[in-house]
């Protein structure tokens, strides 16, 4: 009797379930979506690696070589024209480096290239000591053993442009023999490091003959011998985090630190590239670097796949919004110089300048929020 009862209940349940299933399959409405989107990322990753990152580092290595040649010329022939040429070579090398800060992962980090090239601030006290003790030039190998705060971009900048307080012009007569010789030694070290970085992406990530190029590792995630990237998700995450990192650094570090809370607490000593008055170019180049990764091509090049294509696949309106927020941030940074071409180191102490700086900081904050809370979470919705 009891068994019969259970069987009856079971039969009832089964038939109910069957009926449910039946009604579903008869229904013409589509099954509930799993809220995920599809995107084939291989082309995008390959393109970003080759055409944006490696291309940028190749340019940097080339500009590093040119910088070295310009300094050699300057030492051989100390003329105002050669000094100006060396200044231009410095600015030309600065551009690919600052744009490359949007993807400051991999060898640039693991080989400590970043502090070797771009330590800030410069240790002027030690630099004075080094220059005073010049006994017949400066060998690159010797300089490499010294601490980073007396070498790299900003030391060269100081030697080329002067202290930057009143202007960013330097008379060649003010360039001592020691300064010129140290500049030449520094630019040789600089050239070597930019080459090391380029090689690490193209030939071997750690300089060992058996190792793969870092570019190859980024382009082929998930393969058995790739201990850096287990999947394409990891690569895209690295790229997006790279963009977030530099937006954060420009807005909350490079601009905000010297900016302070008021003109009285503004601190010029914290302004990067203050000697050449190149700060605003640095900052906008940083965000142009973000745009390069986002759009998938360097400014002016033909359209290729970038992070924007990944975002589009997930959320079309977001893709457009982030694109315009990046452009807006660049414009607002460039606008800090106002109508009278005011350098950043002066703008932080200027009432109107401070208003323009705040506008740029707000634009950067907005962009950072979008990247962090809208773009990054798309990785969870990506059907891999």
């Amino acid at each position: 009797m009891k068994q019969l009862k259970y069987s009856a209940v079971a039969i009832a349940l089964i038939s109910t379930l069957a009926a449910c299933g039946g009604s579903g399959s008869d229904d013409s409405t589509p099954p509930p979506t799993d809220d995920k989107f599809e995107f084939a990322a291989t082309e995008m990753i390959t393109n970003l690696t080759d055409d944006v990152i490696i291309s940028g580092y190749s340019t940097l290595a080339m500009k590093g070589e040119e910088m070295f040649l310009a300094s050699q010329t300057l030492v051989a022939n100390k003329t105002q024209a050669n000094l100006l040429a060396a200044q231009e070579a410095w600015k030309a090398a600065r551009q690919p480096w600052e744009q490359g800060e949007s993807h400051i992962f991999g060898p640039v980090d693991s080989l400590s290239i970043d502090p070797h090239l771009d330590s800030w601030p410069l240790n002027t006290a030690d630099l004075t000591g080094v220059l005073a003790n010049n006994t017949g030039g400066f060998a690159a190998d010797t300089i490499k053993g010294w601490n980073d705060d007396i070498q790299g971009f900003h030391t060269m900048e100081y030697l080329l442009f002067g202290d930057g307080v009143a202007d960013n012009q330097k008379d060649v007569a003010d360039l001592s023999i020691s300064e010129a010789e140290y500049l030449m030694g520094l630019s040789e070290v600089f050239r070597d490091y930019t080459k090391t970085l380029d090689d690490a992406w193209k030939i071997s990530h750690d300089g060992q003959a058996a190792s793969k190029a870092y570019g190859e590792l980024v382009k082929a995630p998930g393969t058995a011998d790739n201990t850096f990237y287990a999947s394409q998700v990891g690569v895209i995450q690295e790229l997006v985090n790279g963009m977030i990192g530099i937006v954060d650094e420009v807005g909350n570090g490079k601009i905000a630190d010297p900016f302070g809370t008021s003109a009285a607490t503004a601190d010029t000593s914290k302004v990067e590239s203050q000697y050449s008055w190149n700060s605003l170019t640095d900052f906008s180049d940083n965000i142009i670097g973000v745009r390069n990764v986002y759009q998938g091509e360097l400014t002016g090049a033909s359209d290729k796949q970038g992070i924007i294509d990944f975002v589009k696949a997930g959320d079309e309106s977001l893709a457009l919004r982030v694109g315009s927020e990046i452009d807006d941030a660049i414009i607002k940074i460039q606008a800090i110089n106002g109508s009278n071409n005011m350098p950043f180191r002066q703008a932080i102490a200027d009432a109107e300048g401070r208003v323009r700086i705040q506008t740029a900081v707000d634009a950067l904050s907005k962009l950072q929020a979008s990247l962090e809370s809208d773009v990054l979470p798309l990785l969870n919705k990506w059907k891999v």
Binding site: S110, L111, S112, P115, H116, S119, P121, L122, N123, T124, A125, D126, T128, G129, V130, N133, T142, K144, G145, W146, N147, D148, D149, D206, Q208, S211, T227, F228, D267, S269, K270
Partner: protein
């Protein structure tokens, strides 16, 4: 009253008369003698009883004394008596002037509190010869960080595990065998006798609020390593000789020379290169006046995780000369340290180019390092009822005294001069105050002033 006394006298006289008369009767006399004899016998018996009683009492007392003695002996031999517990600690408040960066020449004053350390020390005396001691230090009131080298990850990774702000660490864990005053052996995690801080690290053993800055800029503070050592005293000479784990040059830095190479930061201590330490003192620094000399020698390249990055040995040698004069109210202590490092350039290059290892801007290591301090104090309690010691101190350090090639920056050459007081409300507690000036040997960097307060304690059960 007088009449009463007279009456009594009469009675007594009467009585003696009667007995005199009675003595004449032999029977009566016999009776009296017998009675007296009986009384005497009773008296004898009573006396004997009393003597027996007294003897018994004495025996009882002796037995009781024996019980007490046994109990006392047992107490002495009890487990708790073999156990010892000591503790010391300090909390400081400092107000220093800081430079935001190397460009900055207008210093900013910052103040901070620090629960510098709480140290607990447990000891156990197994028997007359063997004992052990474990010292656990809680620094800055926190837990800690461990650094691990993972050789299987990518091309070898330095991994840091951060657990919280401070540090908990076993500063000493040693077993000692000491058959005589002249000779003893200790092994385990032992204190190196290099640098006076390793010997005088309790708050009442030095006068400054913070331990001597000169030594901290050159040596590991309260330097401890794994190893074995012998020690002893002969006619007021104290000697120590040790073989201990060496340093790892991957973490040598510009600002503190070899101090960061102390392998306490690693989960495991690499022991491919050992070091040797010797010390000879005349007198006892812990108890008062003494003079001493110490020497440390050891290679460091073998202890690198990436041992193929440096071809030389990276030999560290340190000579320490120290002296103390403590007599009556006068206190004078000083130490001079001189160190050399071979292959300093090779270490600098390797540390700058080892992937994942980030000494960053502080990779340049001195081939020579130098430091000294002198502190002088007067204990005013000898002259007044106030238990205060006033002192003056000078600390100097230059971890980058010389480099293999090029010129050594003077940025790390520091001199601290200060004056202050130590106040002992009770002998176990000291309250300190110190004010002074820090000078960097670079003329473009202005001198800065500092002020510090501290409270320290120490006790032992």
């Amino acid at each position: 009253m007088k009449t009463k006394l007279s009456l009594l006298a009469l009675c007594i006289a009467g009585l003696s008369c009667t007995s005199a008369i009675a003595a004449t009767d032999p029977a009566q006399l016999e009776q009296a003698i017998a009675k007296q004899e009986a009384e005497l016998n009773k008296l004898k018996h009573d006396l004997a009883e009393l003597a027996a009683h007294q003897k018994m009492q004495q025996q009882q007392q002796e037995a009781q004394a024996e019980v007490v003695a046994t109990a006392t002996k047992e107490l002495i031999e009890s487990k708790w008596n073999k156990f010892s517990f000591k503790s010391y600690g300090s909390m400081t408040y400092t107000s220093d002037e800081y430079y935001q960066n190397v460009q900055d020449t207008s210093p900013e004053r910052r103040s901070r509190f620090d629960l510098e350390r709480i140290v607990t020390e447990f000891g156990y005396q197994f028997n007359d010869e063997w004992d052990m001691e474990v010292e656990i230090e809680y620094e800055h009131g926190g837990t800690g960080t461990a650094l691990e080298y993972d050789g299987f990850d990518e091309f070898g990774e330095f991994e840091t595990e951060v657990e919280a702000g401070g540090e908990v660490m076993v500063e000493k864990a040693e077993l000692r065998y000491r058959p005589s005053d002249e000779f003893g052996v200790k092994f385990g995690n032992i204190h190196l006798p290099i640098g006076l801080s390793s010997i005088l690290h309790k708050p009442d053993q030095y006068l400054t609020v913070l331990r001597h800055r000169s030594e901290a800029a050159m040596l590991p503070a309260v330097w401890n390593e794994m190893g074995v050592g012998i020690f002893g005293e002969l006619a007021n000479f104290h000697y120590q000789a040790q073989v201990v784990s060496g340093l790892n040059s991957e973490y040598f830095r510009t600002y503190d020379w070899i101090a960061s190479g102390h392998q306490k930061r690693f989960e495991h201590v690499n022991a491919d290169d050992l070091a040797y330490a010797l010390r000879l003192d005349y007198g006892n620094f812990k108890k008062g006046s003494a003079v001493g000399v110490a020497y440390y020698y050891g290679n460091t390249t073998g202890n690198r995780h990436k041992s193929n990055k440096v071809s030389g040995d990276g030999t560290v040698s340190i000579l320490a000369v120290s002296g103390a004069f403590v007599q009556g109210p006068w206190i004078l202590r000083g130490q001079y340290l001189n160190g050399t490092l071979s292959d300093a350039d090779a270490i600098t290059q390797a540390n700058k180019t080892t992937p994942g290892l980030k000494p960053g801007n502080f990779a340049q290591v001195g081939s020579e390092s130098e430091a000294f301090f002198v502190e002088a104090g007067v204990d005013l309690s000898h002259f007044t009822p106030v238990p205060i010691t006033v002192f003056a101190n000078i600390d100097y350090s230059n971890p980058l005294a010389d480099v293999d090639t090029g010129i050594a920056s003077k940025r790390y050459e520091n001199t601290w001069t200060s004056v202050g007081i130590n106040y002992f409300p009770i002998p176990e507690i000291v309250i300190k105050a110190e004010a002074g000036r820090q000078q960097v040997a670079v003329s473009s960097i202005p001198d800065t002033n500092f002020f510090a307060l501290g409270v320290g304690y120490q006790f032992s059960l």
